[in-house]
């Protein structure tokens, strides 16, 4: 690869090395995010080294250190624990390496923050819920603390309850383990049996939503229930559009797009161009009705149908070709 004609140095020569250091190294989101990043990197003729964090902050630290000593031009950090990263990130910066953080607040002016805006995700979902059900209903809430994105979405839910006293949280449940969806379903069944008056479930994580839907159909109360969630995958879409599905809406950004944005931001920094400190990729509200009328069943089709979902104008530049 001879680099990009007309691109600023060092991209004109090619052979530029970036590192992508993840925290969660398995699962669909990471896979899609990584795919998007790789595609954009390829378009930029950048050699992207991917470090799987294996859900281990300590591991993630060492991997950033490795990336530094591999002499990469830029490091993209995907999720993680701020406390575990801030000092190594500083090390990287001192070594003249550009750093972009996605969904982890490094809290360093030199590090642009790419965000899929969990607050925005939750807000849109809850607004939809309010639109469908008014502001007085008894709700079930699927939530497990200790996972940064969920914790941020939780803040919005707490706000929402405060500002809408009509909304009563009857029960909180959820389980993250080997079979998250199934275990959540088992819990949801217990909860819904114990609280038959629950009409709305807020499940700001698609695996939870999937579990609740399963529970509802097991209990045969799909018609009496509405599920609002965040995130999306092909399987999710199929569950949402299925006949009689209680899963009426989800809000999501396209992980692939976020991946691309992260790479572009890093590239611009390396090229010495200015980048905003906050790069927010706006999430899209996907309603059951909308998806059905659009007749989509996979994320790829969704992307094709809904441009807003497929691309973001964040951190673009004339010399940066779009990923294909």
């Amino acid at each position: 690869a001879g680099g990009l004609a007309g691109a600023p140095a060092p991209f004109d020569k090619g052979g530029v090395k970036f590192a992508l250091v993840g925290f969660i190294s398995a699962g669909d989101f990471f896979a899609a995010y990584q795919a998007g990043a790789e595609a954009q990197a390829k378009a930029l003729d950048v050699d992207l080294q991917v470090f799987p964090g294996r859900q281990d902050s300590a591991e993630q630290r060492s991997q950033i250190e490795q990336a530094i000593n591999l002499g990469v031009k830029a490091i993209i950090i995907d999720h993680g624990e701020p406390e575990a990263l801030q000092d190594v990130v500083q090390k990287a910066l001192d070594a003249g390496i550009k750093v972009v953080a996605f969904d982890v607040n490094i809290n360093n002016p030199a590090v642009p923050q790419v965000e899929q805006s969990d607050h925005e995700l939750a807000r849109l979902a809850l607004e939809q819920a309010a639109k469908d059900n008014g502001t007085t209903f008894s709700a079930g809430y699927a939530y497990v603390a200790g996972f940064a994105p969920l914790d941020r979405r939780n803040e919005v839910w707490q706000e929402f309850k405060k500002s809408n006293p009509g909304v009563v949280e009857k029960a909180q449940f959820g389980a993250v383990n080997a079979t998250t969806a199934v275990s959540t379903a088992d819990q949801a069944k217990a909860v819904l049996t114990a609280n038959p008056d629950i009409s709305v479930v807020f499940a700001p994580y698609d695996e939870f939503a999937r579990g609740v839907k399963l529970a509802a159909s097991d209990l045969g109360i799909s018609s009496k229930l509405k599920i609002y969630s965040a995130d999306v995958s092909s399987a999710d879409i199929q569950e949402i559009v299925a006949d009689g599905s209680p899963w009426v809406a989800t809000v999501a950004t396209n992980p692939a797009v976020v991946g691309a944005v992260s790479i572009r931001a890093a590239a611009k920094l390396v090229a010495g161009e200015a980048v905003d400190h906050n790069l927010v990729v706006q999430p899209t509200l996907l309603t059951q009705a909308g998806l059905r009328s659009a007749g989509v069943t996979t994320v790829e089709e969704l992307a094709a149908k809904i441009p807003a979902f497929n691309a973001s104008d964040v951190a673009t530049a004339s010399w940066i070709p779009a990923a294909k």
Binding site: A26, G27, D28, F30, A31, A32, V144, A145, A171, Q172, F173, G174, A175, N177, A178, T179, T180, A181, V182, S183, A185, D186, Q187, K189, A190, V191, T193, A194, P196, E207, R210, L214, S217, D218, L219, S233, S234, A235, Q238, E239, T297, T298, E300, E301
Partner: protein
């Protein structure tokens, strides 16, 4: 110089001893059962909905997979082994099922045999490593565990497998989950008896009879108890161990089928910690009925025990983060009951 034996003190001293022993024996044998009954009663009082049939069924359903896996672990424990790959086998069976239906467009009648065949193959591989290559059980199954948890990611390049999957070569998979396959996890007999529960019951009874009341079972235990002694009395110990692992693999894959049918997609994050739950059930089984050895009935009751506890706590809306703790406390209590009350005279 024979001493005349005045039989005065002995009998009465013996009497105390006996009565005490009976109470102990009851608590020991009863330990977990009693606790289980207590929980059922308590939860029903605190939350009437707990005791209704639907909920009882959803408890059983929620433990069905773990119970089946626990049974599998029990089998390998019986031959003196230990199948650490059980969770990974189930997890990769989920992926195998999804892949078969979505990429190869298998229907349910092809998928299930394929998946169970896969499970048996894994079991035989374990058995081969252990019997032929003579790798210690824990090590062999550990290696297999890593092997599988990696293998399951490769066909879909680490993505979950659902309809419309884009294959690594860029093409789009044409298949979808066979609705009749989903039935396995989502429908029930007579409208109230979930199929997974039926499967669990069938397997439990089958393997229980096999291990406790057949020649084969006796030889399995003999192999696990003293391999040399078993071989010297003509038992084909190698074939027995191989069989135990093959069975274990088959059961694990059935567990996988149920999960796949529940989730409706090949979920990459399905994973290893299933193993801990299965092992837990099998081990708690030691204490049930004071058998102090691997036994199928115990494993199943063990699984149900944990399931009831978690379901009840959830119903009472106890914060999820206290549930593991309570689980631990109850477990310690039950074990102390079973093992703490010593058998007099030993």
């Amino acid at each position: 110089m024979t001493a005349p034996s005045p039989a005065a003190s002995t009998p009465q001293f013996k009497a105390d001893r006996l009565s005490a022993r009976h109470v102990f024996a009851f608590l020991r044998k009863g330990g977990i059962i009693v606790l289980l009954a207590a929980m059922l009663f308590g939860f029903s009082l605190a939350q009437p909905a707990f005791s209704n049939l639907v909920n009882q069924m959803s408890i059983l359903q929620s433990v069905s997979v773990v119970a089946i896996l626990g049974t599998a672990v029990t089998l390998t424990l019986a031959v003196g082994g230990f199948d650490l790959s059980i969770g990974a086998t189930a997890a990769s069976s989920v992926m195998a099922a999804a892949y078969a239906m979505i990429v190869w467009q298998f229907n349910v009648w092809l998928t299930v045999p394929f998946v169970v065949g896969f499970g048996i193959a894994v079991g035989l591989f374990n058995g081969f490593l252990i019997v032929k290559v003579r790798v210690p059980d824990l090590l062999a199954t550990l290696a297999t565990m890593f092997l599988l948890s990696g293998l399951q990611l490769i066909p879909s390049a680490g993505r979950s497998i659902s309809a419309g999957l884009i294959l690594p070569d860029g093409s789009k998979a044409a298949g979808a989950f066979d609705p009749r396959f989903l039935e396995i996890g989502r429908s029930g007999l007579f409208g109230f008896l979930p199929l997974p529960v039926v499967l669990m019951a069938l397997i439990a009874v089958l393997i229980y009879v096999l291990t406790e009341h057949t020649r084969f079972g006796r030889l399995l235990f003999a192999t696990g108890g003293n391999e040399l002694a078993a071989r010297l009395s003509g038992a084909p110990t190698n074939r027995l161990r191989l069989t135990a692992y093959a069975l274990s693999g088959a059961l694990a894959s059935i567990g996988g089928v149920i999960i796949a049918a529940r989730v409706g997609r090949g979920d990459v994050s399905t994973g290893g910690s299933l193993m801990m739950d299965a092992v837990a059930a099998a081990l708690i089984g030691f204490a049930v009925l004071d058998k102090r050895r691997p036994n199928v009935l115990g494993a199943v009751i063990g699984a149900i025990f944990v399931g009831v506890l978690l379901n009840g706590l959830t119903m009472l809306n106890t914060p999820y983060y206290t549930q593991d703790f309570v689980k631990g406390v109850v477990l310690v209590g039950a074990l102390s009951l079973t093992y703490g009350l010593t058998r007099p005279g030993r």
